[in-house]
């Protein structure tokens, strides 16, 4: 199988896992916002790895052509985005959705459901909650 085929398959399997385990992350705002943040950083870190030639790809298994032996591949175009094959977007989507799905699944099963995340240090929610308790000023 080519990288293109496996990447499509992996993204499909990740969505399938999300459906089977009834975590339904793909229907939730919290998933898409956190994924948008991840994609931004993926383009930076992936661009560093592929633009520097640390990771090189065989043109027979991707939409674009092979990574050049010396120099950088296309920044955008020739099946690439930020030097990396566009297939990496599906790879990243699959890896993030798969791991987040399992994280939510285990939490729902009761494994370390708590302590919950937050509130952020800049928030006053915790302070307000404490002062609302009876017997506390």
């Amino acid at each position: 199988m080519t990288y293109t085929q496996i990447a499509v398959l992996a993204a499909g399997l990740a969505v399938l896992l999300d459906v089977i385990l009834r975590t339904r992350l793909v229907t939730r705002r919290v998933f898409w916002v956190s994924y948008a943040i991840i994609v931004f950083f993926q383009l930076i870190s992936n661009g560093l790895l592929t633009g520097s030639g640390v990771v090189q790809y065989d043109g027979d298994v991707i939409i674009g052509s092979s990574s050049p032996e010396t120099g950088r591949p296309a920044f955008v175009g020739d099946g690439r985005l930020a030097y990396a094959p566009v297939e990496d977007l599906l790879f990243g989507f699959a890896m993030i959705l798969w791991s987040q799905t399992l994280w939510v699944y285990w939490g729902r099963r009761g494994v370390d459901r708590e302590p919950h995340s937050g509130p952020p240090r800049w928030s006053r929610r915790r302070v307000a909650a404490v002062s609302d308790e009876p017997g506390r000023p």
């Binding site: 992350l25 919290v30 560093l48 090189q56 790809y57 798969w98 399992l102």
Partner: protein
């Protein structure tokens, strides 16, 4: 060595959320380990196949290998899912949106 620096960058760029946004991902380490146990095997299998089939190859690594899989790749498959979970819990901590593991 660039790969190790990128990995360190990903870790630092995400791990601060644990302290500042109180994501409590590392504190819930049992849940994190179970998640990684279900994430690592398919990723390593994919990477093993892709390297064997010549889909991708590497330059300028430490040279430490686990079979045909470089150490850097293993670390990548640990650091990136953790960053994804930190991102999820950070967004939830800030916005309070339902995520699917709430008590019903």
């Amino acid at each position: 060595m660039i790969y190790l620096w990128v990995l360190a960058g990903i870790f630092v760029a995400s791990a601060w959320l644990e302290v500042v946004v109180r994501t409590r991902v590392f504190r819930r380490w049992r849940r994190l380990l179970l998640t990684l146990a279900g994430t690592l095997p398919p990723l390593l299998l994919w990477d093993w196949y892709a390297i064997r089939a010549g889909h991708w190859h590497f330059h300028d690594l430490t040279g430490v290998m686990l079979g045909v899989v470089p150490l850097e790749e293993l670390l990548f498959f640990v650091v990136v899912p953790i960053a994804g979970i930190l991102s999820l819990e950070a967004v939830r901590a800030v916005r309070g949106w339902p995520t699917g593991d709430e008590l019903r």
